[in-house]
Symmetry: C2
Subunit: 233 residues, 2 copies
């Protein structure tokens, strides 16, 4: 095994043992290079490999930090936020910042298979895991199919339960599109991450009885979440 | 419909008609605001909505640009790069920068279900669509199962064909993990994007006869590719 791989394995084991905790800064490059008796180039090779794995991340000018163990969030036809997070042994939460009923734009119309200008309920908020923000979401619902959703959301903690109260007993996810984005100032503040940090952007369509009912866009803080697909399932 | 939605719809239609082409800069904010007779705040609401849809992107200090229509890349158990891109009506390509046989690190060992230090072939390169780079890839293969892969790769343009030449007639994708990342200088140069731009990072395991043969990490330029999941399939 090469020198940098040995260093990466040592640091990986130390992180696994809890010697370096999530959010903590590693010692400066020069100090680590001296500890392992290598030059900075070799050391950087090791820390870059660990960053590639998601164990470390660097903040420009501030150093290299240990990433929190991300939640593995499984995507699939029957994805539900609360159940997914609970299955991972973590505590799910959602807070809704605003519910607005308004005319939809062209992209929303296309996703929901309605006409531009038709009414939608737009729900914006933050999803949490273990009481820390992990994602911003914007869900847009066909308001003609779900006239009472805003009232139901006020009474229920969960979108799934609010939909059930509106007569949508079941729904499935038809499609998910995935891109990446870079957090702007406002997203960074709400997610408690650094501006310019990486976000996974997922866009999904939920369908009930063959009709699209919800188009959801979620901006996930990549340092806290990994989306997982088990293709055989 | 609100004012900003009307502006967004107008710009969206103009982009669809080809009036603003991929890579071109929109007129300055003040000029666009004047054209629509709105203030900059309203205009920015519209351009931000189009950026959220992936139609526009901004470069700090340089303005707002029209994004190229991204390739939709479908993930699934039977994903193959060449076939996937061809099905989208585009021209696939791959160039291999290096093939190295070396000891694997702990993360590679875990993914391939072998021991740390066991030999792997590491293949690094660039994937292209329509002769433009869309992704960097690093594929690591179990070298004990595929001793002749480096030779086969030299003779074949495609990894799928090289695997076939090594006796792997078929393989399936078992799992994909998705994160986001921010392009560093070297990734940006190779992908011909701006440093700090968003990357989708996918990590997948390919399996043949129940044994993991390949762990692939791909860094996709998000402005050029959207990963798509059709959950019902």
């Amino acid at each position: 095994m090469s020198l940098w791989q040995n260093i990466a394995d040592t640091l990986r084991a130390e992180i696994a043992r809890g010697l370096w905790r999530p959010g903590h800064r590693l010692p400066p490059e020069a100090a680590l290079a001296a500890r392992f008796g290598v030059n900075r180039h070799t050391l950087r090779h090791a820390t870059r490999a660990l960053a590639d794995e998601g164990l470390l991340y660097s903040r420009r000018g501030a150093g290299v930090f240990v990433a929190a163990q991300p939640v593995e969030y499984r995507l699939g036809e029957r994805v539900r936020f609360h159940r997914n997070i609970e299955l991972a042994g973590r505590v799910p939460g959602r807070s809704i910042d605003s519910v607005a009923t308004r005319a939809c734009d062209a992209a929303e119309a296309k996703a929901l298979n309605i006409a531009p200008g038709d009414p939608v309920h737009a729900v914006d908020g933050v999803a949490t895991v273990d009481h820390r923000p992990v994602a911003l979401f914007r869900s847009v619902f066909n308001a003609r199919l779900l006239p009472d959703l805003p009232g139901a959301l006020a009474g229920q903690g969960s979108i799934t339960r609010a939909l059930a109260a509106c007569g949508i007993a079941d729904f499935i996810r038809a499609r998910t599109l995935i891109k990446a984005a870079v957090a702007d100032e406002s997203q960074a503040v709400r997610l408690q991450i650094e501006p310019g940090g990486p976000l996974i952007r997922s866009e999904s369509i939920d369908v009930s009885d063959g009709r699209p009912i919800e188009r959801g866009i979620v901006w996930w803080a990549s340092e806290r979440v990994t989306l997982a697909l088990d293709h055989g399932d």
